[in-house]
């Protein structure tokens, strides 16, 4: 009969830690502002990249296109971004932050940095090695 310890199973450990961390962070901005994880990701990307399409965000932010689309619609309704069609290729949208969108990011980014700082302190030494190893897990093994 096989032995197996869930507690020691790496995919499980990753899932638990990720879920906890994600929840802690989302509580921070759900408390101050009313925002979901997909919305946060879309805002961040627009903040960095300037006007881009849904497709672009989908690729860079690891979310399904319908998720991006719905997040974008909510953000538009809330006044944080605008949608216009790309004149060069009218299948594409051009999403851009509004003044309000930039202002919101200016509020959130310090909170995000502070939260990450706290995480790093919890982790203690060798955070660089940790992150390096973490990213190795992304390698496609087909």
């Amino acid at each position: 009969m096989s032995q197996f310890s869930l507690d020691d199973f790496l995919p499980y450990q990753l899932a638990v830690v990720s879920a906890r961390v994600s929840r802690e962070f989302s509580q921070i901005y759900a408390e101050h502002f009313d925002m979901s994880v997909p919305e946060w990701r879309v805002l961040v990307h627009l903040h960095n990249a300037g006007p881009v399409s849904i497709r672009e965000i989908q690729a860079r932010v690891d979310m399904d296109k319908s998720k991006v689309s719905r997040a974008a619609s909510r953000l538009e309704k809330a006044g944080f971004l605008t949608k216009e069609t790309n004149a060069d290729d009218r299948r594409l949208l051009k999403l851009g932050l509004t003044e309000q969108g930039y202002a919101r990011m200016e509020q959130i980014i310090p909170l995000a940095n502070k939260f990450e700082q706290e995480l790093l302190e919890r982790m203690g030494a060798d955070t660089d090695g940790f992150r390096e190893t973490l990213l190795k897990l992304l390698k496609d093994n087909t």
Copy 2:
């Protein structure tokens, strides 16, 4: 104006890696057997712990009690476990694997071990340090 890179944001990296790994693994057993992550976790715990209550599983396996309850119901319908009421405290259930449940675990555990092995190889050196650091992120900061 603040700078912020989502790609370098630890909670984001964790979420992406965890989602990918989880998906890769679940494809393995969704392909062979028809099973979700919550079902897998419940089965594993029963395999290790013997007959226990929903509450017990909830606590040990990091899932909401409604999630456990629903996973258990699906597994019961599929014939992998049985529910009976605990005679000593009739609020509690006693969930136990059936023969079929044990047989299924004997099929899956080798696949799980193989998958984890592949992950560890991808990670390269210092996997122990990585796991140690990973778990430090769990520390409750209230």
